[in-house]
Structure formats: C-alpha cells, structure tokens
C-alpha cells in the first residue's frame, strides 16, 4: 500500500497502456455504481426496497478494474456486497433496481433480492448470502472450464472477513492443486461488519496466508482501477496458460456502514476521511483522465448527468413494475413437479 502520511491530495493512478476511451467508460460505470448505491439507503429506509442492503460505495474501482480485465465468456461470482460487481458486469440497472424492489421485472422476478442478483447469460452467477460461498461456485466453474477446455477463467469475489472461513481455503487449495483457471479475489475493506478483520485473523498478511497454499498472491491498491485491472489481466493470462490460480488482495474501503443505516462508530472519522480525500477511486481516476486530456469538465458533467438519469429511470422502472405473480411462488424449484405424485 502506498504511504499516504505526507499526501495531501488524491493519489495518482496507474493507467499505463490502457485505452483512453475505455477509461472514460470505466469512470462512467464507477459513477453509475456510486449513484446507484447512494440512492439505495433512502429507498430501504422508506420500505420501497424491503430489508436492507450492503452497499460498496468506495469500492467501485475494484469491480470495474477487475471486470474489464475479463472476457464475456468468463465466469464471475460475487458476495453479499454485490451491486458494484453486478453493474460492472453489465446487469441492467432497471432490472437490478426492480429486483431490489421485489418486482416482477427484477433480474430474478423478485425471488432474489439484493444478495442473489445474477445474470446467468453473462456467466455472472450472482451474489451470495453466505460469506465465502461465491468463491466455491467460481472454483467449480473453473473446474468445468478446465475439463471442457472452454478457455474461460472464473473469478470469485469475497471480503476480508471470508479469509477465516475454512471453505475458502478448501477452494483455494483445490484450485492450486489442480491448476484451475481461477482468480480468488479478496476485497479487503478492513472490516467485517464492525470487527476489524486484523483483530481476529492470525498472521499479518492475507497474501502471505494465501501463498502457503501454493499459488501466487498479489496485493494491489483497490482504489486504483488501473492497478486492479493489470493484476487481474495478468492472473487471467496465467490461468489461460495453464499455470493455475492467482490470489488477489485489493485494499479498499467502504464509506458507509455494513448494512443500510448501520453506524460506523468502530472506526475513526480520520480514517474515513483519509480514504475519501486521498484515495477515492472516482476522484483519482477523474483527475488522471482530466490531466491527460481524456475528459474535460463538460464531458465529466455529462457523464454524471447520464448516471443520475439512469438511476432515476431505474427507480421509476422499479416503481412501475408489477408485483410477481403469486401463483408462481413455488414454481421451478426442481424440474420434476413433485405435485404429480401427491406431494408435498
């Protein structure tokens, strides 16, 4: 991690070799993620979104940097904090918002809600309500990719809290032993709910822990979309070359509480401010794009306006979407309709 003790303005980002137009799209997507997620808390508190949600405001560069390093056929799995991944993967904002509202036009027709939004046609196997479980699905997708010779890689996201879930290491071991095309991607935002992960984690480095399982493990500045992109790109190339999985630890930060409306008294204002002032992934990318002449203020304003409109339209779409058909409440649980023979 970069030493910020002397820094007073946003840190630089590493965009070498990246295409300028692509980078503008990255910023637009990061802006959309931020606007989309910042709209959610009030929607939850007013009950339009039933229950709460885990938002990833502050973690946008992780999602966009990683996702843009993958190809459309690659498989991605997410966690309980999944909207940034989903939007970066191309889930329609309208359908995502309708799903959050529990409506018929949602990605899952209202069945899934925040933690299970998926896009199977994009090989995005969705969020997961169980810490660490998404990685297991990515493991399996990587296994199938290897067996079928499909040329896919699979990337599984999980948080720093998940490094103490044993099954995460079972998956990593299996991928390492079998040289599967897997990218195990840890978004380390320092906290699991209100517990500083370091306080319940043996050893002082997640990547060192990972290395013990026999795969390369790299730590990257998760607030630098370019840096994230590069490590994922390299991991993807290794995977396709048959060299096996890579572990990525991206240092990042969530600005808000763990779940809608939750306090953040377990961390200092100074800490939060430092991340916002010096490391904000959007600001850093914008500064770099402006400096290199790729984005002037008008273009930036237009990008922001489009993002706000998209979110407003998604909210309106969700509001207008009907409730799901109740007759389907238990449809499609299995392919065989058990009612055929008298149960249940």
């Amino acid at each position: 991690m970069i030493d910020v003790s002397e820094a007073r303005e946003p840190l630089p980002v590493s965009l070498d070799g990246l295409d300028g137009q692509d980078l503008v799209e990255w910023l637009a997507t990061m802006q959309l993620i931020r606007d989309f997620e910042e709209a959610l808390d009030p929607l939850c508190l007013s009950g339009r979104i039933p229950g709460g949600v885990h938002v990833a405001v502050g973690q946008e560069a992780v999602a966009v940097g990683a996702m843009r390093a993958l190809e459309p056929g690659d498989v991605v799995t997410s966690s309980h904090r999944p909207h940034h991944h989903g939007l970066a993967r191309g889930v329609e904002p309208n359908a995502m918002m309708a799903e959050l509202f529990g409506r018929a036009d949602g990605t899952g027709g209202g069945r899934c809600g925040t933690m299970h939004i998926a896009a199977m046609d994009r090989h995005y196997y969705g969020g997961n309500g169980i810490v660490g479980a998404g990685l297991g699905l990515a493991l399996g997708a990587a296994l199938a990719a290897q067996v079928r010779g499909s040329g896919q890689v699979a990337l599984g996201f999980f948080g720093d809290g998940a490094v103490n879930i044993g099954r995460v290491w079972e998956a990593i071991n299996m991928a390492a032993a079998w040289k599967l095309p897997l990218i195990a991607f840890c978004e380390n935002n320092l906290y699991a709910v209100e517990t500083p992960t370091a306080s319940v984690t043996g050893g002082d480095s997640i990547v060192r822990r990972a290395e013990g399982f026999g795969l390369p493990a790299v730590q990257v500045d998760g607030q630098d979309a370019g840096a994230v992109h590069r490590v994922v790109r390299e991991a993807r190339e290794r995977a396709l070359a048959g060299e096996g999985p890579t572990f990525v630890e991206a240092l990042t930060y969530r600005y808000q509480g763990h779940n809608t409306g939750q306090v953040t008294s377990y961390r200092t204002d100074a800490e939060v401010e430092e991340w916002k002032q010096l490391r904000d992934p959007l600001v850093r990318l914008r500064v770099a794009l402006t400096a290199s002449g790729l984005l002037d203020d008008d273009a930036y304003d237009a990008l922001c306006a489009r993002s706000r409109e998209t979110v407003a339209a998604a909210t309106a779409f969700a509001d207008a979407s009907p409730w799901p058909d109740l007759a389907t409440a238990d449809a499609g649980v299995t392919e065989i309709d058990p009612k055929l023979r008298g149960n249940p």
Partner: protein, 327 residues
C-alpha cells in the same frame, strides 16, 4: 415484579442473570463485544462481563467446535451463530460432535447454540428452516420461544442444561414486547404452553405462528368455535402429553409451522397423535406449513409461501367439517 420489554431484551435479561449466577457461562460470536451480536441482542453484556464475551472471526465451524471443546473442559458456552442458516457451515460440529459426546463419552456438552430463525427478509439463503433437522438429531434439544417471558425463562433453562440446546429466536419477533417477570423466572425445557383454552379444535404452533393462531382463534370464537392454541416452545423434546390431552378433548388437530410443510415437525406431531389417539379423532389432522420452496425476497412471494391466517382458518374449518373422500 415484571417489566414490559422486547423478546430480544428478555433474552439479554436471562443471559445476564445466568452469567451473574454462573461464572462458567461464556459468549462467543461475531460482533459480540461492542455490538452485542448482529441483532444487538446482547449489547452491553460485553462490557458488563469483561473477558467473558469474545468476538470471533467468521468461522462458524470453529466457533461451534470451540464451544464443544470448551464445554467439555469446564465452560458453558453460548455460541451465537447470528442467522441460524450459518449453522449449515458447522453441521458436523453440531451433529457429529456436540450431539454425540454425551452418548459416546458420558460427558454432556452444556452449550447453547443461538440463531435467528423463522421467515422474514433476506431471501433464500437466510430463511432456511432447520429446526426439523435438529429435532431429528439424537443428542440435541431445540427451543423456539414465541413470547418475551418464555424467551427469558427458556434461555435460563437452556443455560442450566448440561446438553447442547439449539435456541432459535424468530427474526420477526425480535422487537415483540411483553411482560417479563424479573429475577428467577424459569421455563422448563420440554413443556408446551396452552395459550388459549378451547374444546373444539386444537391448534399447535410455534414461533411467529402462535400469535397468528391466537388471532384466528379469536375470530372463530365470535362464531362460537372454541380453539385451543398450544405453543410448543420446545421443539425437542416435544410435549406430546399436553397435545394428546388436548386432542383427546377436542377430537381435532391442526399443526402449523413456517417450515416447508413436507418433512417438517408437523408431520411428527400428526403421526404421533394419530397413533396414540386415533379413536379420539373426529377428523384428519391438518397440517399447515410453507410451500416446498426456497423463500423469495419479494414480500408478496414470501407471504404466498408461508401460512397465512386465512390458511390456518381454512385448516381449522376443514377439521370441523371433514370431507368423506370419494372412494
């Protein structure tokens, strides 16, 4: 003396009193010390009992294993699993270790496994109904209170029990208020409560369905139908004696649960009662339960999957006018 507090506060009161009484009680779970657990159910206990509450890593298997080993070595741990769904990551520790130690080695495992259960928000993976599986596991006791007073009384009993008790608190009852006796208020494990007396039909329920059954009973009372509502409170061991006595009076039984009806606890009760009290039954026992489906996120889909008051009422009426099936 009693105070009007929430189910969650009643739980805390019971835990506090027992921790004062017994030094061996120790609390383990994620976000416990400051927050008091995910639902703040033990907020304050961390600072009141320094060293006796510990924040765990997200390691459900190790949490339960640690609970079992600590119980064998002199502690009486409360392992707080947050949502009971996360017990799925610790099933070997619960079923193969905690539940079997006394049988194999003659030493009990005094451990409470607390989990938030029942059906509410957060969709499929946070709304598993695991109680029937626990109740089918020899060596485990299973508790699910429906009132604040019972919550206090039952957690006190659970903490005095020398065996592993799975203690389920319904998501939607966390904030339910009720009178809770101060001090020594102990509800024995394995005893159901008759919430409302009646001679026409017996309704057995637990968790959030108890209040629903009481409301339906109230409505039917206006029509002159006297429904007896029994709250199981403990899901294993079942208080079949109380149910049996009631059914032998009413001749009619409805068993209600939010778990998928197929394979749920209602089947056990129906099977046991028809066996023991066949000749007292005036109508087939009706079971009300959830559809055989994972739970959705969308509120109307949730409501469609679990028993409504209307459904309960229909089931009760079905016992009053049983249809001779066409042969």
């Amino acid at each position: 003396m009693s105070t009007r507090i929430t189910l969650s506060q009643a739980f805390q009161q019971g835990v506090r009193e027992e921790m004062e009484r017994d030094d061996a009680i120790f609390v383990l779970g994620t976000d416990m010390v400051e927050r008091g657990g995910h639902f703040a159910q033990l907020r304050g206990i961390g600072s009141e009992f320094p060293g006796r509450v510990r924040d765990a890593p997200i390691s459900e298997a190790a949490m339960v294993a640690a609970g079992v080993g600590a119980a064998l070595n002199g502690l009486r741990p409360i392992v707080d699993l947050n949502f009971i769904d996360f017990a799925l990551g610790a099933m070997d520790e619960i079923v193969n270790q905690a539940a079997k130690a006394r049988f194999m080695w003659g030493r009990g495992v005094p451990m409470v496994i607390r989990g938030t259960a029942g059906i509410a928000f957060y969709a499929a993976q946070h709304n598993n109904s695991l109680e029937a599986g626990f109740a089918h596991t020899p060596g485990l006791l299973v508790v699910m209170p429906s009132t604040p007073a019972d919550t206090k009384g039952l957690i006190k009993s659970a903490l005095r029990c020398d065996d592993p008790v799975v203690f389920l608190m319904h998501k939607s009852l966390t904030g339910l208020r009720g009178e809770v006796p101060e001090g020594e208020h102990v509800v024995p494990l394995g005893e159901a409560a008759i919430r409302r007396a009646g001679d026409d039909v017996t309704v057995v329920a637990y968790g959030a369905l108890v209040a629903r059954a009481e409301r339906v009973a109230e409505r039917l009372a206006t029509e002159g139908v006297a429904v007896e509502v029994i709250d199981l409170r403990t899901l294993f061991p079942l208080d079949l004696a109380t149910i049996e006595a009631s059914v032998r009076r009413t001749g009619r039984l409805v068993v209600a649960s939010e778990a998928p009806r197929h394979g749920g606890i209602g089947g056990e009760i129906a099977a046991a009662i028809q066996e023991s009290s066949f000749f007292y039954l005036d109508a087939p026992i009706q079971r009300v339960g959830a559809l055989h489906t994972p739970i959705s996120h969308s509120p109307p889909l949730i409501a469609a999957a679990i028993p409504s008051e209307e459904q309960l009422e229909r089931a009760i009426r079905a016992t009053l006018t049983p249809q001779e099936a066409v042969a």
